[in-house]
Subunit: 181 residues, 2 copies
Amino acid sequence: MGKDRKIDMVILGLLSHEDLTGYDIKKQIDEAIGFFWKGSFGSIYPALGEMEKAGQIKKLPDRSSGSREKIKYRITKDGKNALKEWLKEEQSSNDLKYETLLKLYFGGVEKPEVSIHNIELFEEKIKADLNVLKWYKSNLEKVLDNNEHLHYYLTVTFGIDTYEAYLKWCARSKKLLKERV
Amino acid sequence: MGKDRKIDMVILGLLSHEDLTGYDIKKQIDEAIGFFWKGSFGSIYPALGEMEKAGQIKKLPDRSSGSREKIKYRITKDGKNALKEWLKEEQSSNDLKYETLLKLYFGGVEKPEVSIHNIELFEEKIKADLNVLKWYKSNLEKVLDNNEHLHYYLTVTFGIDTYEAYLKWCARSKKLLKERV
DNA sequence: GTACTATGTATCAAAACGATATATCAAATT
DNA sequence: AATTTGATATATCGTTTTGATACATAGTAC
């Protein structure tokens, strides 16, 4: 039991809220948790098949007969238990890969302008994403009395706090690099 | 040429500073850039073999005859060009996977104590790593007049800034969760 | 002397990515 | 009315990466 596949936990977690298709799952990963997690169809669909075989999720009958195929999944008792087990595991790996920082670290082989430009590209992306997160936050604050939304709210504030730290760092770093031009 | 393999750029970047063995490369990834990038032997050794065939790096003669085998690599002109090309690419993907946030997001299916504990585990890890980064920073500040070290310094300050943002978020989040206990 | 840790190269199964194929449906364009 | 575009939906495939393991030598500690 209990392989070490992270995508399984993402799927179980999302299904613990509501029944979803593979496509729905991909959408939720991109839209709701995209700023701290990624996932692709290439891992979602195979996982759905294997998890169904393992009895952690089950297919729901497609009642919209005649139309396009659409497979909704529902979490089972076994699935819920696996999710709760994972939540209580002591170990959590936070895998961060900043290509921006990689380029900055090796930027010494090029002119400072190249590094400055790379920071600016990062900065623009972060500014745009930060606005989205702030909009999420203001919406969530209206319904914060609900216990369920608190968990989402906390991840959103995590995003906002780190993004704001990024932006301060960008400003200071550009300044230091420009002194060397 | 120029496949889209990130490990190639890590290897070229590290070799642009000095000649290294595969083992050295792994060590540098873990120790110097480990807080913003990861890499394993399983990707390093195959990449070294293919990059040598492609002419981006070359083996150096092992002069310590008789002793244990030890293969040092040196970057070639082709390799340096590939590195510079990559530095000038507009696109940079920053892939972040925070299992801690994933558990927090789905934490609603368990008692708040579970989420609080997970945040505390994250907090402890970050505090320890932050101390290391601060020690790096104070050492780097002594040699900051050197252009080469500025790039490393900037990545270290990135780590410090984001880790400090993490810690503030941890404190506020624990407080909000404890109110619900 | 022998156990333990660090150095060093290498491979393999499993996991994840990213691109692509295929097809339906709704909405906007021509 | 016909056509094109974009969103919805499932699925696979080659490539990359991870994480574990295997194997062997060198240096250090007890």
